[in-house]
Symmetry: C2
Subunit: 269 residues, 2 copies
Protein backbone atom coordinates (compact mmCIF):
# COMPACT_ATOMS: atom_id res chain seq x y z
CA UNK A 1 0.00 0.00 0.00
CA UNK A 2 1.18 3.50 -0.75
CA UNK A 3 0.60 6.26 1.74
CA UNK A 4 -1.95 7.70 -0.67
CA UNK A 5 -3.93 4.47 -0.72
CA UNK A 6 -3.81 4.17 3.07
CA UNK A 7 -5.12 7.69 3.48
CA UNK A 8 -8.00 6.96 1.13
CA UNK A 9 -8.97 3.98 3.25
CA UNK A 10 -10.25 6.18 6.03
CA UNK A 11 -13.63 4.58 6.58
CA UNK A 12 -14.16 1.15 8.02
CA UNK A 13 -16.27 -0.01 5.06
CA UNK A 14 -13.67 0.82 2.40
CA UNK A 15 -10.96 -0.62 4.54
CA UNK A 16 -12.81 -3.84 5.25
CA UNK A 17 -13.43 -4.34 1.53
CA UNK A 18 -9.74 -3.86 0.85
CA UNK A 19 -8.75 -6.20 3.66
CA UNK A 20 -11.29 -8.84 2.64
CA UNK A 21 -10.06 -8.83 -0.96
CA UNK A 22 -6.47 -9.11 0.19
CA UNK A 23 -5.60 -5.68 -1.26
CA UNK A 24 -4.66 -4.34 2.18
CA UNK A 25 -2.47 -6.47 4.44
CA UNK A 26 -0.83 -3.76 6.57
CA UNK A 27 -1.25 -2.85 10.21
CA UNK A 28 -4.33 -0.90 11.27
CA UNK A 29 -2.88 1.67 13.68
CA UNK A 30 -4.47 5.05 13.00
CA UNK A 31 -6.92 3.69 10.41
CA UNK A 32 -10.71 4.09 10.50
CA UNK A 33 -10.53 6.59 13.36
CA UNK A 34 -13.41 6.34 15.81
CA UNK A 35 -14.10 2.67 15.13
CA UNK A 36 -13.37 0.16 17.87
CA UNK A 37 -10.47 -2.07 16.84
CA UNK A 38 -10.14 -5.54 18.36
CA UNK A 39 -7.61 -8.15 19.34
CA UNK A 40 -8.82 -11.49 17.97
CA UNK A 41 -8.40 -15.04 19.26
CA UNK A 42 -9.99 -17.98 17.44
CA UNK A 43 -9.87 -21.29 19.27
CA UNK A 44 -11.57 -24.68 19.43
CA UNK A 45 -14.89 -24.66 21.33
CA UNK A 46 -13.58 -27.13 23.91
CA UNK A 47 -11.27 -24.39 25.22
CA UNK A 48 -13.63 -21.45 24.72
CA UNK A 49 -15.44 -21.61 28.06
CA UNK A 50 -12.10 -21.59 29.91
CA UNK A 51 -10.84 -18.72 27.79
CA UNK A 52 -13.95 -16.64 28.48
CA UNK A 53 -13.54 -17.38 32.20
CA UNK A 54 -9.92 -16.27 32.02
CA UNK A 55 -10.82 -13.04 30.22
CA UNK A 56 -13.78 -12.27 32.51
CA UNK A 57 -11.49 -12.65 35.53
CA UNK A 58 -8.81 -10.39 34.03
CA UNK A 59 -10.85 -7.56 32.53
CA UNK A 60 -8.03 -4.99 32.39
CA UNK A 61 -5.76 -6.94 30.00
CA UNK A 62 -8.60 -8.98 28.42
CA UNK A 63 -11.76 -6.86 27.95
CA UNK A 64 -14.22 -9.02 25.99
CA UNK A 65 -16.06 -7.00 23.33
CA UNK A 66 -17.48 -9.85 21.25
CA UNK A 67 -17.89 -13.63 20.99
CA UNK A 68 -18.94 -15.63 17.95
CA UNK A 69 -21.19 -18.68 17.84
CA UNK A 70 -19.38 -22.01 17.54
CA UNK A 71 -18.42 -22.60 13.90
CA UNK A 72 -19.86 -19.26 12.77
CA UNK A 73 -17.33 -16.80 11.27
CA UNK A 74 -19.65 -13.79 11.58
CA UNK A 75 -19.68 -11.39 14.53
CA UNK A 76 -23.05 -9.63 14.20
CA UNK A 77 -22.75 -7.74 17.48
CA UNK A 78 -19.58 -6.03 16.18
CA UNK A 79 -20.84 -5.23 12.67
CA UNK A 80 -23.41 -6.37 10.14
CA UNK A 81 -21.15 -8.14 7.65
CA UNK A 82 -17.98 -9.19 9.44
CA UNK A 83 -16.48 -12.51 8.30
CA UNK A 84 -13.53 -13.27 10.53
CA UNK A 85 -12.07 -15.71 7.96
CA UNK A 86 -11.14 -12.78 5.70
CA UNK A 87 -11.48 -9.53 7.65
CA UNK A 88 -8.14 -9.28 9.41
CA UNK A 89 -5.24 -7.99 7.32
CA UNK A 90 -2.93 -10.66 8.72
CA UNK A 91 -3.26 -13.70 11.00
CA UNK A 92 -0.98 -15.95 12.99
CA UNK A 93 -1.61 -19.66 13.46
CA UNK A 94 -0.14 -21.29 16.53
CA UNK A 95 -0.07 -25.06 16.96
CA UNK A 96 0.69 -26.56 20.39
CA UNK A 97 1.92 -23.15 21.54
CA UNK A 98 4.29 -22.50 18.63
CA UNK A 99 3.95 -20.10 15.71
CA UNK A 100 3.17 -22.29 12.70
CA UNK A 101 2.22 -19.84 9.98
CA UNK A 102 1.41 -16.19 9.19
CA UNK A 103 -1.36 -15.76 6.59
CA UNK A 104 -3.70 -13.08 5.22
CA UNK A 105 -6.85 -15.25 5.11
CA UNK A 106 -7.95 -18.25 7.18
CA UNK A 107 -10.80 -19.70 5.08
CA UNK A 108 -8.67 -22.83 4.56
CA UNK A 109 -8.16 -23.20 8.31
CA UNK A 110 -11.71 -22.52 9.52
CA UNK A 111 -13.49 -25.41 11.24
CA UNK A 112 -16.98 -26.11 12.57
CA UNK A 113 -15.71 -26.09 16.15
CA UNK A 114 -14.00 -22.67 16.03
CA UNK A 115 -15.05 -19.84 18.37
CA UNK A 116 -13.95 -16.23 17.84
CA UNK A 117 -13.31 -13.98 20.83
CA UNK A 118 -12.72 -10.22 20.30
CA UNK A 119 -10.97 -8.10 22.94
CA UNK A 120 -10.58 -4.33 23.09
CA UNK A 121 -7.31 -2.73 22.04
CA UNK A 122 -5.10 0.16 23.12
CA UNK A 123 -5.59 2.10 19.86
CA UNK A 124 -8.87 3.36 21.36
CA UNK A 125 -7.39 5.12 24.40
CA UNK A 126 -4.30 6.25 22.48
CA UNK A 127 -6.51 8.13 20.03
CA UNK A 128 -8.33 9.78 22.93
CA UNK A 129 -5.04 10.72 24.62
CA UNK A 130 -3.61 12.24 21.45
CA UNK A 131 -6.87 14.12 20.86
CA UNK A 132 -6.36 15.64 24.32
CA UNK A 133 -2.87 16.80 23.32
CA UNK A 134 -0.95 14.05 25.14
CA UNK A 135 1.81 12.86 22.80
CA UNK A 136 2.52 9.15 22.29
CA UNK A 137 6.27 8.68 22.02
CA UNK A 138 6.07 5.47 19.94
CA UNK A 139 3.84 7.27 17.42
CA UNK A 140 6.24 10.25 17.30
CA UNK A 141 9.13 7.82 16.75
CA UNK A 142 7.12 5.68 14.29
CA UNK A 143 7.70 2.53 16.34
CA UNK A 144 5.51 -0.22 17.77
CA UNK A 145 4.63 0.45 21.41
CA UNK A 146 7.05 -1.36 23.77
CA UNK A 147 5.53 -4.29 25.67
CA UNK A 148 6.92 -6.13 28.70
CA UNK A 149 6.31 -9.24 30.75
CA UNK A 150 5.59 -8.39 34.40
CA UNK A 151 5.30 -10.36 37.63
CA UNK A 152 1.67 -9.26 38.08
CA UNK A 153 -0.11 -12.59 38.57
CA UNK A 154 -3.30 -13.14 36.59
CA UNK A 155 -6.43 -14.83 37.89
CA UNK A 156 -6.47 -18.35 36.43
CA UNK A 157 -9.37 -19.50 34.24
CA UNK A 158 -9.28 -23.24 33.60
CA UNK A 159 -6.11 -24.04 31.63
CA UNK A 160 -5.26 -20.36 31.14
CA UNK A 161 -3.14 -18.25 33.49
CA UNK A 162 0.27 -16.63 33.84
CA UNK A 163 1.36 -13.05 34.35
CA UNK A 164 0.26 -9.77 32.81
CA UNK A 165 1.88 -8.17 29.77
CA UNK A 166 1.88 -4.36 29.80
CA UNK A 167 2.58 -1.63 27.27
CA UNK A 168 4.56 1.48 28.27
CA UNK A 169 4.20 5.12 27.29
CA UNK A 170 6.53 7.75 28.81
CA UNK A 171 4.61 10.87 29.90
CA UNK A 172 5.44 14.26 31.36
CA UNK A 173 4.34 14.77 34.98
CA UNK A 174 1.26 16.90 34.31
CA UNK A 175 0.09 14.50 31.60
CA UNK A 176 0.09 11.46 33.93
CA UNK A 177 -3.11 12.23 35.86
CA UNK A 178 -4.85 13.43 32.68
CA UNK A 179 -3.88 10.21 30.89
CA UNK A 180 -5.23 8.16 33.81
CA UNK A 181 -8.54 10.01 33.79
CA UNK A 182 -9.00 9.82 30.04
CA UNK A 183 -8.03 6.17 29.60
CA UNK A 184 -10.24 5.21 32.58
CA UNK A 185 -13.21 6.16 30.39
CA UNK A 186 -12.44 3.20 28.11
CA UNK A 187 -12.84 0.05 30.23
CA UNK A 188 -13.37 -1.92 27.01
CA UNK A 189 -9.87 -0.82 25.88
CA UNK A 190 -7.79 -1.68 28.98
CA UNK A 191 -9.01 1.36 30.97
CA UNK A 192 -6.72 3.20 33.37
CA UNK A 193 -3.03 2.25 33.71
CA UNK A 194 -2.08 -0.60 36.04
CA UNK A 195 1.20 1.00 37.20
CA UNK A 196 3.02 4.35 37.11
CA UNK A 197 6.76 4.73 37.70
CA UNK A 198 9.38 2.19 38.79
CA UNK A 199 9.48 -0.66 36.24
CA UNK A 200 11.22 -2.96 38.73
CA UNK A 201 8.22 -2.79 41.05
CA UNK A 202 6.24 -4.91 38.57
CA UNK A 203 9.13 -7.14 37.59
CA UNK A 204 10.37 -5.33 34.48
CA UNK A 205 14.16 -5.52 34.16
CA UNK A 206 15.10 -2.91 31.58
CA UNK A 207 12.85 -0.51 29.70
CA UNK A 208 15.29 -0.54 26.77
CA UNK A 209 14.69 -4.25 26.21
CA UNK A 210 10.95 -4.83 25.65
CA UNK A 211 9.81 -8.40 25.00
CA UNK A 212 7.52 -7.21 22.19
CA UNK A 213 7.51 -4.02 20.09
CA UNK A 214 10.29 -1.45 20.05
CA UNK A 215 12.06 0.46 22.79
CA UNK A 216 11.25 4.19 22.86
CA UNK A 217 13.17 7.11 24.35
CA UNK A 218 12.24 8.19 27.87
CA UNK A 219 13.26 11.84 28.29
CA UNK A 220 14.60 13.25 31.57
CA UNK A 221 11.70 14.13 33.83
CA UNK A 222 9.30 11.74 32.12
CA UNK A 223 7.59 8.91 33.98
CA UNK A 224 6.92 5.50 32.44
CA UNK A 225 3.20 4.69 32.53
CA UNK A 226 2.10 1.07 32.11
CA UNK A 227 -1.22 -0.16 30.72
CA UNK A 228 -2.53 -3.74 30.68
CA UNK A 229 -1.94 -5.12 27.17
CA UNK A 230 -3.88 -7.46 24.89
CA UNK A 231 -0.75 -9.55 24.32
CA UNK A 232 -1.54 -10.94 27.78
CA UNK A 233 -4.27 -13.09 26.25
CA UNK A 234 -2.07 -14.31 23.40
CA UNK A 235 0.60 -15.19 25.91
CA UNK A 236 -1.89 -17.18 27.99
CA UNK A 237 -3.15 -18.99 24.88
CA UNK A 238 0.39 -19.94 23.84
CA UNK A 239 1.43 -20.99 27.34
CA UNK A 240 -1.55 -23.36 27.51
CA UNK A 241 -0.18 -24.95 24.32
CA UNK A 242 -3.60 -25.81 22.97
CA UNK A 243 -3.52 -27.65 19.62
CA UNK A 244 -4.60 -24.68 17.49
CA UNK A 245 -5.23 -21.01 18.06
CA UNK A 246 -5.45 -18.29 15.43
CA UNK A 247 -4.84 -14.66 16.38
CA UNK A 248 -4.40 -11.35 14.59
CA UNK A 249 -0.78 -10.62 13.72
CA UNK A 250 0.53 -7.86 16.03
CA UNK A 251 -0.99 -4.50 15.05
CA UNK A 252 -3.25 -6.09 12.40
CA UNK A 253 -6.54 -5.75 14.22
CA UNK A 254 -10.20 -6.30 13.38
CA UNK A 255 -11.85 -2.97 12.52
CA UNK A 256 -15.38 -3.23 13.92
CA UNK A 257 -18.43 -1.07 13.25
CA UNK A 258 -18.67 -0.08 16.92
CA UNK A 259 -18.11 3.57 17.85
CA UNK A 260 -15.15 3.52 20.22
CA UNK A 261 -16.99 5.88 22.56
CA UNK A 262 -19.88 3.41 22.96
CA UNK A 263 -20.48 2.17 26.47
CA UNK A 264 -21.58 -1.17 25.06
CA UNK A 265 -19.97 -2.98 22.12
CA UNK A 266 -23.28 -4.00 20.54
CA UNK A 267 -23.85 -2.98 16.93
CA UNK A 268 -27.25 -1.50 16.06
CA UNK A 269 -28.38 -0.65 12.52
CA UNK B 1 -35.56 -13.73 61.77
CA UNK B 2 -36.60 -10.87 64.00
CA UNK B 3 -35.85 -7.31 62.98
CA UNK B 4 -33.27 -7.21 65.76
CA UNK B 5 -31.44 -10.21 64.32
CA UNK B 6 -31.54 -8.82 60.80
CA UNK B 7 -30.07 -5.51 61.95
CA UNK B 8 -27.27 -7.31 63.73
CA UNK B 9 -26.34 -9.09 60.50
CA UNK B 10 -24.94 -5.96 58.97
CA UNK B 11 -21.58 -7.28 57.79
CA UNK B 12 -21.16 -9.74 54.99
CA UNK B 13 -19.14 -12.17 57.10
CA UNK B 14 -21.73 -12.51 59.85
CA UNK B 15 -24.46 -12.71 57.31
CA UNK B 16 -22.73 -15.37 55.23
CA UNK B 17 -22.18 -17.50 58.33
CA UNK B 18 -25.85 -17.20 59.18
CA UNK B 19 -26.91 -18.00 55.63
CA UNK B 20 -24.51 -20.94 55.34
CA UNK B 21 -25.77 -22.48 58.58
CA UNK B 22 -29.36 -22.06 57.46
CA UNK B 23 -30.10 -19.60 60.30
CA UNK B 24 -30.94 -16.82 57.82
CA UNK B 25 -33.19 -17.62 54.86
CA UNK B 26 -34.68 -14.17 54.20
CA UNK B 27 -34.17 -11.74 51.35
CA UNK B 28 -30.99 -9.68 51.25
CA UNK B 29 -32.31 -6.22 50.23
CA UNK B 30 -30.58 -3.57 52.34
CA UNK B 31 -28.23 -6.05 54.05
CA UNK B 32 -24.40 -5.84 54.10
CA UNK B 33 -24.44 -2.30 52.66
CA UNK B 34 -21.54 -1.59 50.33
CA UNK B 35 -21.03 -5.20 49.28
CA UNK B 36 -21.85 -6.18 45.71
CA UNK B 37 -24.86 -8.50 45.66
CA UNK B 38 -25.32 -10.92 42.77
CA UNK B 39 -27.96 -12.70 40.74
CA UNK B 40 -26.92 -16.35 40.46
CA UNK B 41 -27.49 -18.94 37.72
CA UNK B 42 -26.05 -22.44 38.01
CA UNK B 43 -26.31 -24.59 34.91
CA UNK B 44 -24.75 -27.62 33.22
CA UNK B 45 -21.42 -26.90 31.50
CA UNK B 46 -22.82 -27.87 28.11
CA UNK B 47 -24.99 -24.74 28.19
CA UNK B 48 -22.49 -22.45 29.92
CA UNK B 49 -20.67 -21.18 26.83
CA UNK B 50 -23.98 -20.19 25.22
CA UNK B 51 -25.14 -18.52 28.42
CA UNK B 52 -21.92 -16.49 28.71
CA UNK B 53 -22.31 -15.47 25.04
CA UNK B 54 -25.89 -14.40 25.74
CA UNK B 55 -24.86 -12.35 28.79
CA UNK B 56 -21.85 -10.76 27.04
CA UNK B 57 -24.13 -9.66 24.20
CA UNK B 58 -26.71 -8.19 26.58
CA UNK B 59 -24.55 -6.44 29.17
CA UNK B 60 -27.25 -4.07 30.48
CA UNK B 61 -29.63 -6.76 31.75
CA UNK B 62 -26.91 -9.43 32.24
CA UNK B 63 -23.66 -7.88 33.56
CA UNK B 64 -21.33 -10.81 34.35
CA UNK B 65 -19.44 -10.28 37.60
CA UNK B 66 -18.16 -13.82 38.17
CA UNK B 67 -17.93 -17.33 36.71
CA UNK B 68 -16.97 -20.51 38.52
CA UNK B 69 -14.89 -23.41 37.23
CA UNK B 70 -16.86 -26.43 36.05
CA UNK B 71 -17.87 -28.54 39.05
CA UNK B 72 -16.30 -26.12 41.53
CA UNK B 73 -18.73 -24.48 43.98
CA UNK B 74 -16.26 -21.76 45.04
CA UNK B 75 -16.11 -18.29 43.46
CA UNK B 76 -12.65 -17.01 44.51
CA UNK B 77 -12.85 -13.85 42.41
CA UNK B 78 -15.95 -12.77 44.38
CA UNK B 79 -14.68 -13.66 47.83
CA UNK B 80 -12.21 -15.95 49.58
CA UNK B 81 -14.55 -18.54 51.06
CA UNK B 82 -17.76 -18.52 49.02
CA UNK B 83 -19.42 -21.91 48.57
CA UNK B 84 -22.38 -21.46 46.27
CA UNK B 85 -23.96 -24.73 47.49
CA UNK B 86 -24.79 -23.09 50.85
CA UNK B 87 -24.28 -19.33 50.55
CA UNK B 88 -27.59 -18.16 49.11
CA UNK B 89 -30.45 -17.80 51.59
CA UNK B 90 -32.87 -19.47 49.17
CA UNK B 91 -32.64 -21.18 45.77
CA UNK B 92 -35.01 -22.20 43.01
CA UNK B 93 -34.53 -25.33 40.91
CA UNK B 94 -36.05 -25.35 37.46
CA UNK B 95 -36.29 -28.54 35.39
CA UNK B 96 -37.09 -28.30 31.67
CA UNK B 97 -38.13 -24.69 32.17
CA UNK B 98 -40.49 -25.29 35.09
CA UNK B 99 -40.09 -24.48 38.78
CA UNK B 100 -39.43 -27.82 40.49
CA UNK B 101 -38.41 -26.88 44.00
CA UNK B 102 -37.45 -24.02 46.33
CA UNK B 103 -34.69 -24.92 48.82
CA UNK B 104 -32.25 -23.23 51.21
CA UNK B 105 -29.19 -25.35 50.31
CA UNK B 106 -28.21 -27.15 47.11
CA UNK B 107 -25.47 -29.52 48.31
CA UNK B 108 -27.73 -32.44 47.40
CA UNK B 109 -28.22 -31.10 43.87
CA UNK B 110 -24.62 -30.10 43.05
CA UNK B 111 -22.97 -32.01 40.20
CA UNK B 112 -19.50 -32.21 38.67
CA UNK B 113 -20.72 -30.52 35.48
CA UNK B 114 -22.26 -27.45 37.13
CA UNK B 115 -21.07 -23.92 36.30
CA UNK B 116 -22.00 -20.89 38.40
CA UNK B 117 -22.52 -17.50 36.74
CA UNK B 118 -22.93 -14.36 38.89
CA UNK B 119 -24.56 -11.21 37.50
CA UNK B 120 -24.75 -7.74 39.06
CA UNK B 121 -27.98 -6.63 40.75
CA UNK B 122 -30.05 -3.46 41.10
CA UNK B 123 -29.51 -3.21 44.87
CA UNK B 124 -26.16 -1.55 44.06
CA UNK B 125 -27.51 1.44 42.15
CA UNK B 126 -30.58 1.72 44.38
CA UNK B 127 -28.33 2.22 47.39
CA UNK B 128 -26.38 4.91 45.50
CA UNK B 129 -29.62 6.65 44.45
CA UNK B 130 -31.01 6.65 47.98
CA UNK B 131 -27.67 7.93 49.33
CA UNK B 132 -28.08 10.85 46.92
CA UNK B 133 -31.51 11.60 48.35
CA UNK B 134 -33.55 10.06 45.51
CA UNK B 135 -36.39 8.09 47.12
CA UNK B 136 -37.26 4.59 45.91
CA UNK B 137 -41.03 4.22 45.98
CA UNK B 138 -41.01 0.41 46.40
CA UNK B 139 -38.74 0.79 49.44
CA UNK B 140 -41.01 3.51 50.91
CA UNK B 141 -44.00 1.23 50.33
CA UNK B 142 -42.13 -1.88 51.55
CA UNK B 143 -42.83 -3.75 48.32
CA UNK B 144 -40.75 -5.67 45.79
CA UNK B 145 -39.79 -3.49 42.82
CA UNK B 146 -42.27 -3.95 39.94
CA UNK B 147 -40.86 -5.79 36.91
CA UNK B 148 -42.28 -6.02 33.40
CA UNK B 149 -41.80 -7.92 30.16
CA UNK B 150 -40.99 -5.57 27.26
CA UNK B 151 -40.75 -5.90 23.50
CA UNK B 152 -37.07 -4.88 23.57
CA UNK B 153 -35.42 -7.72 21.62
CA UNK B 154 -32.29 -9.26 23.13
CA UNK B 155 -29.24 -10.33 21.17
CA UNK B 156 -29.37 -14.13 20.91
CA UNK B 157 -26.54 -16.26 22.32
CA UNK B 158 -26.80 -19.89 21.24
CA UNK B 159 -30.03 -21.34 22.67
CA UNK B 160 -30.74 -18.22 24.75
CA UNK B 161 -32.71 -15.17 23.62
CA UNK B 162 -36.04 -13.42 24.07
CA UNK B 163 -36.99 -9.95 25.22
CA UNK B 164 -35.76 -7.76 28.03
CA UNK B 165 -37.32 -7.60 31.48
CA UNK B 166 -37.15 -4.18 33.15
CA UNK B 167 -37.77 -2.83 36.64
CA UNK B 168 -39.59 0.48 37.14
CA UNK B 169 -39.07 3.28 39.65
CA UNK B 170 -41.25 6.42 39.48
CA UNK B 171 -39.18 9.60 39.89
CA UNK B 172 -39.84 13.32 40.10
CA UNK B 173 -38.65 15.31 37.07
CA UNK B 174 -35.50 16.79 38.60
CA UNK B 175 -34.46 13.39 39.93
CA UNK B 176 -34.58 11.71 36.50
CA UNK B 177 -31.31 13.10 35.10
CA UNK B 178 -29.56 12.67 38.45
CA UNK B 179 -30.71 9.05 38.62
CA UNK B 180 -29.42 8.46 35.08
CA UNK B 181 -26.01 9.94 35.89
CA UNK B 182 -25.62 8.08 39.18
CA UNK B 183 -26.77 4.67 37.95
CA UNK B 184 -24.57 5.03 34.84
CA UNK B 185 -21.58 4.76 37.19
CA UNK B 186 -22.52 1.14 37.92
CA UNK B 187 -22.24 -0.74 34.60
CA UNK B 188 -21.84 -3.97 36.61
CA UNK B 189 -25.27 -3.33 38.14
CA UNK B 190 -27.38 -2.61 35.02
CA UNK B 191 -25.99 0.93 34.58
CA UNK B 192 -28.18 3.76 33.26
CA UNK B 193 -31.90 3.24 32.58
CA UNK B 194 -32.95 1.78 29.22
CA UNK B 195 -36.13 3.87 28.93
CA UNK B 196 -37.79 6.91 30.50
CA UNK B 197 -41.49 7.71 30.17
CA UNK B 198 -44.23 6.05 28.09
CA UNK B 199 -44.50 2.37 29.12
CA UNK B 200 -46.32 1.50 25.87
CA UNK B 201 -43.26 2.53 23.83
CA UNK B 202 -41.43 -0.56 25.11
CA UNK B 203 -44.42 -2.85 25.02
CA UNK B 204 -45.63 -2.54 28.60
CA UNK B 205 -49.42 -2.69 28.83
CA UNK B 206 -50.27 -1.48 32.33
CA UNK B 207 -47.94 -0.27 35.06
CA UNK B 208 -50.40 -1.47 37.69
CA UNK B 209 -49.99 -5.09 36.53
CA UNK B 210 -46.29 -6.01 36.73
CA UNK B 211 -45.34 -9.56 35.70
CA UNK B 212 -43.04 -9.86 38.75
CA UNK B 213 -42.90 -7.94 42.04
CA UNK B 214 -45.55 -5.54 43.26
CA UNK B 215 -47.19 -2.49 41.66
CA UNK B 216 -46.21 0.81 43.26
CA UNK B 217 -47.97 4.17 43.25
CA UNK B 218 -46.94 6.66 40.57
CA UNK B 219 -47.79 10.16 41.86
CA UNK B 220 -49.03 12.94 39.57
CA UNK B 221 -46.07 14.61 37.91
CA UNK B 222 -43.79 11.60 38.34
CA UNK B 223 -42.20 9.81 35.39
CA UNK B 224 -41.70 6.05 35.25
CA UNK B 225 -38.02 5.18 34.76
CA UNK B 226 -37.08 1.71 33.51
CA UNK B 227 -33.84 -0.17 34.17
CA UNK B 228 -32.70 -3.44 32.62
CA UNK B 229 -33.41 -6.21 35.14
CA UNK B 230 -31.59 -9.40 36.11
CA UNK B 231 -34.83 -11.39 35.73
CA UNK B 232 -34.06 -11.13 31.99
CA UNK B 233 -31.46 -13.85 32.37
CA UNK B 234 -33.73 -16.11 34.41
CA UNK B 235 -36.41 -15.66 31.79
CA UNK B 236 -33.99 -16.63 29.02
CA UNK B 237 -32.85 -19.69 30.99
CA UNK B 238 -36.44 -20.84 31.53
CA UNK B 239 -37.50 -20.18 27.94
CA UNK B 240 -34.62 -22.35 26.70
CA UNK B 241 -36.11 -25.14 28.86
CA UNK B 242 -32.72 -26.67 29.65
CA UNK B 243 -32.95 -29.81 31.82
CA UNK B 244 -31.73 -28.15 35.04
CA UNK B 245 -30.92 -24.64 36.16
CA UNK B 246 -30.61 -23.41 39.73
CA UNK B 247 -31.05 -19.70 40.51
CA UNK B 248 -31.35 -17.53 43.59
CA UNK B 249 -34.94 -17.11 44.73
CA UNK B 250 -36.11 -13.55 43.91
CA UNK B 251 -34.45 -11.06 46.27
CA UNK B 252 -32.32 -13.76 47.92
CA UNK B 253 -28.96 -12.78 46.40
CA UNK B 254 -25.35 -13.83 46.88
CA UNK B 255 -23.56 -11.30 49.11
CA UNK B 256 -20.04 -11.07 47.70
CA UNK B 257 -16.89 -9.59 49.23
CA UNK B 258 -16.57 -7.08 46.39
CA UNK B 259 -16.96 -3.37 47.21
CA UNK B 260 -19.89 -2.21 45.09
CA UNK B 261 -17.90 0.86 44.04
CA UNK B 262 -15.12 -1.32 42.54
CA UNK B 263 -14.54 -0.89 38.83
CA UNK B 264 -13.61 -4.57 38.59
CA UNK B 265 -15.35 -7.40 40.44
CA UNK B 266 -12.11 -9.17 41.36
CA UNK B 267 -11.53 -9.91 45.03
CA UNK B 268 -8.07 -9.15 46.44
CA UNK B 269 -6.93 -10.03 49.97
Amino acid sequence: MTVHQTARLGTGDDLRTAIRSGAFTGHTAGLAPGRLQCNIAILPAKFALDFLRFCLRNPKPCPIVGVGETGDPTLPTLGPDIDIRHDLPRYRLYRDGHLAEEVTDIAAHWRDDMVTVALGCSFTFERALMAAGIPMRHVEQNRTVPMYRTDLALERGGVFGGTMVVSMRPLRGPDVPRAVEISARYPLAHGAPVHVGDPAAIGIGALERPEWGDAVDVAPGETPVFWACGVTSQNALLSAAIPLVITHAPGHMLISDIDENSDQPIWKA
